[in-house]
């Protein structure tokens, strides 16, 4: 199956906060030195409203970043980061020129180049969006 292609896009390792104002406000910190290519990504965990949940950080083209919860806004299934465009078309029935987030439960698709906008499927809204600040090879991720 295509599982390996999905996992291949996930590289970096979440780290503990290293002090300072930025890290004190951050829900999570992620090293970005291994996210040098566009569409490279890292999964991390963060806590929101007492709930520990998975998140994803993606390096977009032109040094932009995307971060959000990895839970589908439809019914909390864990999303998949799909870099393989053919897989996005075959498995999620969307023609796309960029990687997507897709839900394997009810096949909602989210456009990460547009803030997680719902492209198709029953999800009512984007996944919970997170803010990213980069400093010293670290991504500080906050609500």
């Amino acid at each position: 199956m295509h599982r390996r292609k999905v996992l291949a896009g996930l590289a970096a390792i979440p780290l503990l906060s290293s002090g300072g104002v930025a890290s004190a406000e951050a829900l999570a910190t992620v090293r970005v030195d291994r996210l040098s290519d566009a569409w490279s990504a890292a999964e991390f965990e963060f806590e929101a409203a007492g709930d520990r949940q998975p998140g994803i950080l993606v390096r977009l083209p032109q040094d932009r970043w995307y971060a959000s919860s990895m839970l589908c806004s439809h019914n909390n299934c864990k999303l998949m980061f799909v870099r393989d465009l053919a897989m996005a078309q075959d498995s999620f029935s969307v023609k796309t020129s960029t990687p997507i987030l897709g839900c394997p439960c009810h096949f909602s698709v989210f456009d990460i180049t547009q803030g997680g906008k719902v492209v198709s499927g029953p999800a009512p809204k984007p996944p919970f969006q997170l803010a990213v600040r980069i400093a010293d090879e670290m991504a500080y991720i906050s609500a």
Binding site: M1, H2, R3, L71, C77, C105, F107
Partner: protein
Amino acid sequence: MKTVKSLAFTYLFTFCVLAWAQGLPPLATELDPKQTALILVDFQYPFTSPAGANHRNVKKELDEKQLLERTVELVKKARALGVWVVHATEGYSGDYRELDATNPGGFHRGQILRQAWKVGSKEQSYYEPLLPGPADKDLFLPPRAQTSAFGGTGLNETLRSRGIKNIAVAGFTTDVCVYATVTTGYDLGYHVYALREAMVGYFSEQSDQMLKNTYPMWSKVIGNAEWLGMVDAGARVAQR
């Protein structure tokens, strides 16, 4: 005059027949445990373990109902009363060869995408507190790919051969596999008891609506204690 009397008699007779035809026999208030099975649907790691892939979908209702703890108690009592406990599980071969990945229905496509529920994996493992002890005669059905516990498991043939007439259904989830099991059971002629306190929904609000509006068409929606009370009453009758 004779014709008038004859017509009146005919009308009266017809009315009586219609009135009789509209009446129904009373429903059972007791269940013979020897004719009763408790079917537990998919008490497996993805739902029951906090680390499971589907746990988040069911956690709220699971916690509110204290479902796992209460189901363990329910099963202990059912076994003690002589009810046959049947465990239905979901599971697929390592490469999903039994599934049609081109089926436009999304259920199996999603399982393949997530590489989920492979037989023998941790993710397919059973909720340990419900496993039968050495003296228990529970039945474990072969892992199934279908939504209904009757699908491809031989459950119907097995229940028939044991003279089972009543089935109680519990587990995961109210709106998917439990529902499929309830409707199939009804279609096969079983008297179905839907144990509302022992099932949770994938979509909780939808499941509440289904229990109120849809389930009563195919089953008696009932609490654990009330159902056990019916079996207890049936056991007493059988002992006389």
